[in-house]
Symmetry: C4
Subunit: 499 residues, 4 copies
Amino acid sequence: MSQDKLTGAAVAQHNSRDSCWVIVHGKAYDVTEFLPEHPGGQKIILKYAGKDATEEFDPIHPPDTLDKYLNQSKHLGEVDMTTVEQEEKAFDPEEAARLERIQRMPPLAACYNLLDFEAVARQVMKNTAWAYYSSGADDELTMRENHAAFHKIWFRPRVLVDVENVDMTTTMLGSKVSIPFYVTATALGKLGHPEGEVVLTKAAKQHQVVQMIPTLASCSFDEIVDARQGDQVQWLQLYVNKDREITRRIVQHAEKRGCKGLFITVDAPQLGRREKDMRSKFSDPGSNVQNGESEVDRSQGAARAISSFIDPALSWKDIPWFRSITRMPIVLKGVQSVEDVLRAVEAGVDGVVLSNHGGRQLDTARSGIEVLAEVMPALRERGWEKRLEVFVDGGVRRATDILKALCLGATGVGIGRPFLYAMSAYGLDGVDRAMQLLKDEMEMNMRLIGATRIDDLSPSLLDTRSLSGGHAGSLPVDTLGLGAYDPLEAPRFNEKPKL
Amino acid sequence: MSQDKLTGAAVAQHNSRDSCWVIVHGKAYDVTEFLPEHPGGQKIILKYAGKDATEEFDPIHPPDTLDKYLNQSKHLGEVDMTTVEQEEKAFDPEEAARLERIQRMPPLAACYNLLDFEAVARQVMKNTAWAYYSSGADDELTMRENHAAFHKIWFRPRVLVDVENVDMTTTMLGSKVSIPFYVTATALGKLGHPEGEVVLTKAAKQHQVVQMIPTLASCSFDEIVDARQGDQVQWLQLYVNKDREITRRIVQHAEKRGCKGLFITVDAPQLGRREKDMRSKFSDPGSNVQNGESEVDRSQGAARAISSFIDPALSWKDIPWFRSITRMPIVLKGVQSVEDVLRAVEAGVDGVVLSNHGGRQLDTARSGIEVLAEVMPALRERGWEKRLEVFVDGGVRRATDILKALCLGATGVGIGRPFLYAMSAYGLDGVDRAMQLLKDEMEMNMRLIGATRIDDLSPSLLDTRSLSGGHAGSLPVDTLGLGAYDPLEAPRFNEKPKL
Amino acid sequence: MSQDKLTGAAVAQHNSRDSCWVIVHGKAYDVTEFLPEHPGGQKIILKYAGKDATEEFDPIHPPDTLDKYLNQSKHLGEVDMTTVEQEEKAFDPEEAARLERIQRMPPLAACYNLLDFEAVARQVMKNTAWAYYSSGADDELTMRENHAAFHKIWFRPRVLVDVENVDMTTTMLGSKVSIPFYVTATALGKLGHPEGEVVLTKAAKQHQVVQMIPTLASCSFDEIVDARQGDQVQWLQLYVNKDREITRRIVQHAEKRGCKGLFITVDAPQLGRREKDMRSKFSDPGSNVQNGESEVDRSQGAARAISSFIDPALSWKDIPWFRSITRMPIVLKGVQSVEDVLRAVEAGVDGVVLSNHGGRQLDTARSGIEVLAEVMPALRERGWEKRLEVFVDGGVRRATDILKALCLGATGVGIGRPFLYAMSAYGLDGVDRAMQLLKDEMEMNMRLIGATRIDDLSPSLLDTRSLSGGHAGSLPVDTLGLGAYDPLEAPRFNEKPKL
Amino acid sequence: MSQDKLTGAAVAQHNSRDSCWVIVHGKAYDVTEFLPEHPGGQKIILKYAGKDATEEFDPIHPPDTLDKYLNQSKHLGEVDMTTVEQEEKAFDPEEAARLERIQRMPPLAACYNLLDFEAVARQVMKNTAWAYYSSGADDELTMRENHAAFHKIWFRPRVLVDVENVDMTTTMLGSKVSIPFYVTATALGKLGHPEGEVVLTKAAKQHQVVQMIPTLASCSFDEIVDARQGDQVQWLQLYVNKDREITRRIVQHAEKRGCKGLFITVDAPQLGRREKDMRSKFSDPGSNVQNGESEVDRSQGAARAISSFIDPALSWKDIPWFRSITRMPIVLKGVQSVEDVLRAVEAGVDGVVLSNHGGRQLDTARSGIEVLAEVMPALRERGWEKRLEVFVDGGVRRATDILKALCLGATGVGIGRPFLYAMSAYGLDGVDRAMQLLKDEMEMNMRLIGATRIDDLSPSLLDTRSLSGGHAGSLPVDTLGLGAYDPLEAPRFNEKPKL
């Protein structure tokens, strides 16, 4: 036993609100004063007061978190981990079943499309991680509409075109890419895979597509940039901090480290409530949630906790300031109306992402693809279609979805959850295969639609008549409200014969 | 044993149509002559002839009922309840299962939205109470459409608006409220909670919203007014009696007691048939319902019974008379067509509620929100949109629903069943949480839609194209008629191999 | 034992194609020569060769059939039934279950609407009878659309109308009726009830509604007319025979016996195939249906068999002839297009029934109510709406359905199956209650729509926008083709862990 | 034992990539050098190296394959099959269940429509064969839409037309046919029936309909032509080979052998991915599919393998060349847009088939019937409707479907899968009955629609309003993506009572 190291017993004494130490990766920290500031609430920390919090800490906090946010004087030094008492975990039949399912996982080669990864991930991911990734706002109408909206657009293919050679390459914000999709920013990659977002970095390199680095990554920004290879292109997704100096530092650091685009998230002045995610937190049988004490923090899920810094006052007035601090192209992520796209052109930004944040913010917001079908004619009418690049994300699962967006006039599409699912189930190989499947689909479908280059794609290849007025038709049958509805009954027969 | 008190045995002798005494709250009453006048029919009283009827009597009759409607000479005085024979109740496995479910109720904090209270209430309420609250007219197409109609309206949100401060307050009929919904009138609150409507009064106070007092409350009108605190605002919902003197007394009493609005129900010249409610009355295994004797009364449910006084002759000609007896603002509750809204303006009333009575009256009547989308343009076309306040109720479950109504031009929305369910499952705490959840949703969703004040809400924030022509799409799959339908079959295989 | 009577043994010897005797109601008949002429095919008769066929014969043949169609010389006289060997019936578990269900039937008072009778009848009717009544053409899309189409029409009710007194009476083809529906013609009433169509005659009398007498009744025409009481009104439904003399006799006999209207069926030049009905014939485990011999007859159901006399050559040219042989008003039953309604006016007939034969003829023919919505504007445009009466049938289950048809401009609606189901389950009491329920619904719904007389009903009370283009929305989910469809699958997990 | 014959043991020694012999139909072949050229990949051959491959070989290769593609020097001569070791097959419970189901198959007479054959075939076909026939591209939205689209078209029948005599005959490409459908080309008939496509030839003869001979038949072209009788008409379906000389030989041979039409497939520059088919290949428990080696070939299904010769460079420029090598009428099969139909007229071809390849190529391509409804007005507008014959295929299951296509203006419809299913389940008798059922339906439905000749069919007999904008309505509920979706949940009750 080292003289220098703290013992588990010593740490364990600081197990209360008055003196709260925790162990993370073999080091002890005094977080007593930090407790009220913790974005995720005090309770979740107090649960680990005097104990090892590494397993809970890791996926939600980038490794540089403690250095950045906790004063060095509170870093208490190494702990002799052999002296830390291991908590015995109660047998969890759900977790046991999950581990058993992992033993029986389908081989990667049995995944033929992006939906397959989702189906597998659902079976092999931890419940809380699955809930965080897969949930949407309120009744999840928008989340489901995002995918369903693509099914309202049908093809009008052309035949007898020489499609021997198909070229899927295109350019986004000045960078050449092999196929017009990019890996969009999604939070907390380590919930799905211990290595986190760098897995996506590696896969993006293999397939020459752009990765957008999320503000709320599990890896630190620099780790993700360090994983970049060669001329690989990365963009930065930005939640704007109330403290603009912090924002300035983040942006200028990203530019210095080589990011080629700044995507400012504009659809999240407040992070949405995802009830399915919140419900997944209630599994703890010992929770005394009805004891009157506020437990808002725990039930809101990880994202809510880490979002308290986002500035709800961000407005069009801030755009010139962004222009002044960076030369990266500026793209507004989360635009949802024609009016705002026109305003974006006038504000001189370089692009917009038509997006509803994966259906995680405002329920019954329309799908990006539907907004796109309104936006492009309005731009063309004004001759503005070259003045900015229009991206779209949400619900993209097939190359046909990508083709539809491009036929309507998008520069490219963002894909998020499907790559998270591929990563969570199969790691880098999974993401690699997911991207390859999209490429194979894309090549085939361009042939079948009669297009050999991205420039061949045009609205005349689509029938979009069902987009207008089709919201009722996609009404899902499993809305909670109908689930609680008693079906109408016929007269009941008696249980016994009449005497 | 007291000399003054009646014995149970004495009462028990009057157990027939010829002499019928009943005990209510420890006092005996001679109801022999009243039998034919009972709005709920004789049979239900005769079932308790000579017995204690308190448990059945309570939820359906306000406490002042016997004083009001039974001559004092028939009040026979107190009964020594120790001498009243307790009927042994047969073991009821459904009731036992219900009580067991109550032991396992989810904690209140696990309810994340108004639909959750409905799901819990369905499990913990008495079957007959649930049937009364939750049922609708005929095939319940309108009842379900009420909620589904909101899903045909989608948002066109604005981004980059400074939404740091959101102000949800507004004014209804001159009263300031913290959020634009009110507790609408619903009958028989004690079916769900032993304290009845005063629970809603208390919750409305906590959240500074208006409560509309129902004519058919389980509590007496004065009890509900007495529960009011401070500057709390209440309105009166009125079923107009055939005897206009009674109506005059009710209205003027309400005004005197401080009610700030008179809502005259115009969609119920006859109370609707709710078959699900009627079916719930048939559970009694001993019922000899096929013996030829009319049993209309019992099978029609409580509401039908207590409604026989409502005047089906009420018409536009009566409006001036109401004007003459009160200075409260007059609002017509249950208007369902543009034509009638225009006529209401001409009649000089102060408001209308676009409502189909929660889908409990005319089946395949359209939802209030759909009618609203027709009404407001017609009013604006004539420059009449400020001449009356337009409210809407039916199917409101989410703050997004409220926002849609307000964007279209409503002053506010009424919410009924969800608060009944919250009250039935969790009492005052439940209603409190339900209202708080709506406020939290409202604040977040105003941010996400890009609005900071109620005045910011406008039709340009909505896509309503699916409202027209979308009735077919929402056709429910569980209509009774289809339930009785034999699915088409493929050829049947033999049960045994051919020899 | 009587000298005069035949013995069972004597009859039993004539049990082959060469000499085929059968017993019906205690009398023997030699049908050897008749075999090839039997509309239902020889096989079904040969099954009873030498035996008692009464049970099978009865529901399908009116009692005067043998007198009419079999030469008197083949009537062999009475049989001593004590000498006829009773066939022991094999135990049939389905039939036993049906009889057991009849013991537990819900009381009549538990039927609250017409759909309830259907649900009960399905459980208590013989399978073959249920299949005959309930089946429709092909995939039954039209049959289901008939009811669903009413759900595409929604109300725009008026309020504050004095509806104390509601008058539902109206006039059809000059006859006063208490409510604007009539009992339309349906075949083979004895399949559902041993007394057959006269049950409907009695119920129609009780409620002062018109009964239309079917050509293919189980009772003879005269029996049904004989059951008429007082000033009760009956109409005749007519399948036109290839032999016009037979048709002339039927029509003139009906007029002489007091029928007040002649409804010529024009939608059945050939009777439809109802596969569900055909499938119900295959239950016989001993059938050697694959032995090469044609068995078309048995598998086509009763209706096909008895329809071979219907004249497919009937055309507009025949109308003047009908005019020449009767003074009854002439109505064409089964018109399905605007064009044909206009032609009917020009042909001078007195009315049309917009009908697709209950969905039993051409699948994906449109519903009568949808055709009505096209027909009335076309008539009004020409000022022809008074030149003929327009009836509609198919799918009517609720008073709201009747109201919708009348608002659009129909004179009345026909109701068929619901009364058959009520009769099959509960006899005359059932039909009586079914009619009373419709009257109760009608009175209430007229109040709720704001109409006191039939003349108050107008198109402005409806929203019919969903009628156009709504066929896709009503696509049923249980079409056979989709039932045979394999749902898409996710990758399969291995059954055992990988080693 | 013959001197001349090879022994099983001798063949068995050549069981590797270095020396690979296989036995087919009792003869040995040295395929060592051919391995890399095999369109289906090497692995599938190596599985049978040194063994008898007949069972796997047969359905996928026409009998003349080895003669055509393997140099005679590699034909090693006969094998004494008594010396070949029989591999013992592991017990396969699925196969055993299938064989048991075959014992209980419904009699043929129990199949009343084309959908019935599909339902039976699904139960009695080998899983891999069923998967190959029944699968479609991606999420099978187009495959299902093909049938569903017919349900968006409804009839407007005419009555009182003399329909005693109905004439269904018509002319296609100059040939008289008894009814306006033809047997369209489908690949690999021996998967369903050991005799393959000649079964269809015989049935087509019996019913005087045209058979289109597929390029990818299991039988050789000459076998299928040899099976032709009398004046029977056959057409050739052509996949155009990269080597145009091969194509020239095929076309000119077909013309010489009497084919009366050349259908050039234009919708398959690359054969589609059918994931359900691919998934069916993964049943082999011994497969080491995750061992890193590429196994693309095996998982792509039979069709992919045999399609590598198809020329993706085929274009409009090739049409004159086809004109130059044959005098057969030329029809483009797989046209999917108005634009291409107009171009086909200009190119001078004799016809088009509006088709999406049975939903097996591009998912969310529109149905042929929907395209037809756009194409015919465009042709009529230009007066071009007689300049080419327009055929349509995909989803035809009922005579009503055929009638709808003809009313819109099609010359005839192609039917593929239904006849394969009838053949697979019941052989020639099955196809015969399927065709007879269609004829019976056609005759009846022409009567019911009021048409006696094909020329009577016109657009005025249809209501097609639901075709536009109805894609959303047909959204299937079992899309994989929704299958992986977690339904929303209500709050969970505790498992145990609170203490």
